[in-house]
């Protein structure tokens, strides 16, 4: 079983807003982060990714304190909502950057990239430029890169929000398959309750800069006692 991610009394002030995150995100599972917009979902993800450094407290991954570590030094891969690919580099190069940023590839590395593309359903797309891909294909390429990076944690920031609903479902299926194959820890920010139901083992509710509820997904979706959560689930 993979290690949990620990947020040890993490405090952060951005502009006039205060954030305070405390808790543990289970390793080897899919955890959905939800909440009203502006509540701090993305800030929480940025703290995990290393785009924000906490003022107080620690972030631990795999038992190691990564609070001050540069984003590239953390055991995480990232998939954003968009701009996951460098528009001037072809799909192969974009994925290969996940193996090593210098792009010094051995033959075995090239095979790994091609296999990853094949796995996400982009066989034959290696030479294509991102501009010629659909939104779903771009996200598949981003998944392929996350695969070759082989990091224990995958962070996703509303990765399917820009896609059609149908496409979102099939992409979620792919994510689930990849998760089962690699047994990685997945943290996904989403504003869609159905996505929580489809994907997540656990769910976290973020409200005014703090985690107000953390529960297994089924229990989370059935909760009635938090007004903000009820509004979120019915919205």
């Amino acid at each position: 079983m993979a290690d949990n991610i620990l947020l040890d009394k993490v405090g952060l002030r951005l502009g006039g807003q205060h954030f305070r995150f405390d808790g543990s995100l289970p390793g080897g599972a899919i955890t959905a982060i939800t909440g009203p917009s502006g509540a701090g979902k993305s800030t929480l993800l940025n703290l995990l990714a290393g785009f924000e450094i906490p003022d107080q407290g620690r972030v631990l991954m795999g038992g190691t304190d990564v609070s001050g570590a540069h984003p590239s030094q953390r055991p995480v891969s990232l998939v954003f909502q968009d701009n996951n690919l460098f528009a001037h580099l072809d799909v192969f190069t974009n994925v290969a950057l996940g193996i090593h940023p210098s792009l010094k590839l051995r033959e075995a590395d090239r095979q790994v990239v091609l296999q990853a593309l094949q796995r996400v359903g982009l066989d034959g797309f290696a030479k294509r430029m991102p501009g010629t891909l659909s939104g779903g294909e771009k996200q598949r390429a981003a998944f392929a890169r996350a695969l070759v990076r082989q990091k224990p944690v995958l962070l996703l920031d509303e990765p399917f929000a820009a896609l059609d609903p149908g496409l979102g479902i099939s992409m979620a299926k792919l994510l689930l398959e990849l998760h089962r194959e690699t047994a990685n820890t997945v943290i996904i920010v989403t504003h869609d309750p159905q996505e929580v139901a489809r994907l997540a083992d656990y769910a976290v509710f973020v409200e005014s800069g703090a985690i107000t509820l953390q529960a297994p997904a089924a229990e989370f979706l059935a909760r009635q006692d938090l007004p903000a959560l009820t509004a979120f689930l019915s919205g």
């Binding site: 951005l14 450094i53 984003p71 590239s72 990232l78 460098f86 001037h88 580099l89 940023p101 792009l103």
Partner: protein, 539 residues
């Protein structure tokens, strides 16, 4: 996000560049102010300086008024005709005067409106006694309108095209007459950008040098900039130059201050993307009026340009191109313009990089926020101290070190660099910012930094805007007469200076030919600089 060492380096470069610019400008101003201060106050407001100041403001005011008032109907006509064959070419034509070296434009105007020009010949044939004069106030106004009407028209057109298409559908379904459309839709849109547009043109006309030098220059038609130049170059009277330069800095500071209060003129970009349906333009009077406006303004702009071409071809171009004078001037021009353009790019990137480094700090603090604002305003503030003033100051400093001519080329290059800075920043800053928005987090998360990011991620994308900005800077420097005017001599002859001296010695034929050559060089550079943009849009 940057690594710590990257952040420190960018910061250091930004500070270095900022210090360099302030030292360069500050030294010039200090040299001016420390010269013979005892006699100064009495020289500020003599009858002479007062007259010059009055004329400077008067011609700028009239030029601005005429440019804007004449541009408005042209912009409205083009907005009401969103699709007709050749429209895009007319709008492109309106961009030409902005990129054209001012001296060449002046020659074209003389070709049409001069004593032997088309207009006056026709007027004489019609039996008119007094032809239109291209010299003096009327000539300066004509030239300023030639250069600024298209600028105003493009900015106003952009403001009109930013209105949502539904406005026009709504206005016609409500049965609005043209005057109501003007009062309720067009005028409010124009009024919003008017202070910015007028302020920009006023500033350009107050600091106008080349046109006034060529078309005015007599005691009755001299602006501050030209008077400074004359005080130094002809009379060698530094105290008078200092008094005039101080007036000039004071005036531009006031205008810039006023402009900062007004909303900006917006972007002159052509927004032909959206389909506009203007049902209010189908009536025959509307068609006739729009046609008249568009054709008149097109002729007004195109004829001087055609005249440059026709007059230039009359010269013995081959003999000119192979003449030692041309080759030497061309070499000098490039030897100044190329390093100046490269330096402009480096300085701009240093400023942008430092601001980015500050923006990346999580809590920049008051000093850093202030520093970032200063960095951003620097490129703008160099407008405060015009080239002639910079040249004057450095002239006074370098005089004590021996022959100024030996430093002149470097000085002209540095002044050209500062002049190009605001334009280059306007191209590069948004390009770098949008590139950063798209790639910064991704590059950081993949551990791309330093040289790797520069070569793989930044340069491939930014090469295009850098080339565009560099071509702008080179064209500006190649066509500039303002900085070189103080130092131009047989030792330092750039192409514009060569054209100007041919013109001054009444060898108009040579001047026309050289102007055509310089115009072609600038056109080719502009085309090279902007060539990839269309391709990029497809890709």
């Amino acid at each position: 996000m940057l690594t710590g060492s990257e952040q420190r380096w960018r910061f250091a470069w930004g500070i270095a560049v900022l210090t360099g610019i302030f030292l360069f400008v500050g030294a010039a101003v200090a040299a001016l102010l420390s010269w013979d201060t005892g006699a100064l106050p009495s020289r500020f407001f003599t009858a002479y300086t007062w007259r010059i100041l009055q004329f400077t403001l008067l011609q700028a005011l009239l030029s601005t008024f005429l440019s804007v008032v004449l541009a408005a109907p042209v912009a409205m006509a083009l907005a009401r005709r969103p699709a007709f064959p050749g429209r895009i070419w007319i709008i492109r034509l309106m961009a030409v005067p902005m990129g054209l070296p001012v001296l060449i434009g002046a020659l074209g105007l003389i070709g049409i409106w001069g004593r032997q020009g088309m207009v006056n010949s026709a007027l004489v044939k019609l039996g008119m006694e007094q032809p239109v004069s291209i010299y003096g106030l009327s000539g300066i106004l004509l030239a300023h309108v030639f250069f600024n009407l298209p600028l105003a028209a493009r900015l106003l057109l952009a403001a009109l095209e930013r209105l949502s298409p539904e406005y026009w559908l709504l206005s016609s379904s409500l049965g609005m007459r043209p005057f109501s459309v003007f009062r309720l839709i067009e005028w409010p849109a124009i009024r919003r950008v008017l202070p910015g547009v007028a302020g920009l043109i006023f500033m350009l006309c107050v600091t106008s040098f080349t046109l006034v030098l060529v078309l005015g220059g007599g005691p009755a038609a001299t602006t501050l900039e030209v008077a400074i130049y004359q005080a130094l170059r002809f009379d060698f009277d530094p105290p008078r130059a200092i008094a005039l330069a101080s007036l000039q800095i004071g005036t531009t500071a006031l205008i810039l201050g006023a402009m900062m209060l007004a909303p900006g003129p917006g972007d002159g970009g052509v927004t032909a993307g959206r389909a506009m349906r203007r049902l209010d333009g189908v009536s025959s009077p509307a068609r006739a009026w729009d046609g008249l406006m568009i054709i008149t303004s097109t002729l007004f702009l195109a004829m001087p340009l055609a005249s440059i071409f026709v007059a230039g071809l009359k010269a013995d171009l081959w003999a000119l191109v192979t003449s030692a004078a041309f080759l030497r001037a061309a070499w000098t021009s490039f030897a100044i313009a190329f390093p100046a353009a490269v330096l402009t790019i480096l300085v701009s990137l240093a400023i942008i990089g430092a601001r980015q480094a500050i923006a990346d700090m999580r809590r920049p603090g008051r000093i850093m926020t202030w520093l970032s604002a200063v960095l951003g305003a620097t490129s703008f503030l160099v407008l405060l101290v015009p080239p002639v003033v910079l040249g004057t100051g450095w002239f006074l400093i370098l005089r004590t070190f021996g022959n100024v001519a030996s430093f002149a080329a470097i000085l002209v290059g540095l002044i050209n660099m500062l002049m190009a800075l605001p334009f280059v920043m306007r191209v590069l800053a948004p390009a770098v910012e949008s590139h950063r928005r798209q790639t910064a987090r991704l590059a950081t998360s993949l551990g791309l930094s330093g040289k790797r990011r520069l070569w793989r991620i930044d340069l491939p994308v930014l090469a295009r805007p850098i080339l565009t900005a560099m071509s702008f800077a080179m064209v500006l420097s190649l066509g500039d007469l303002g900085a070189v005017a103080l130092f131009g001599s047989s030792d330092l002859t750039t192409l514009p200076w060569l054209v100007y001296s041919r013109l001054a010695s009444y060898r108009n034929n040579d001047a026309d030919g050289l102007a055509l050559l310089l115009g072609i060089i600038c056109l080719v550079l502009t085309m090279l600089g902007t060539a990839g943009q269309r391709r990029q849009r497809h890709g």
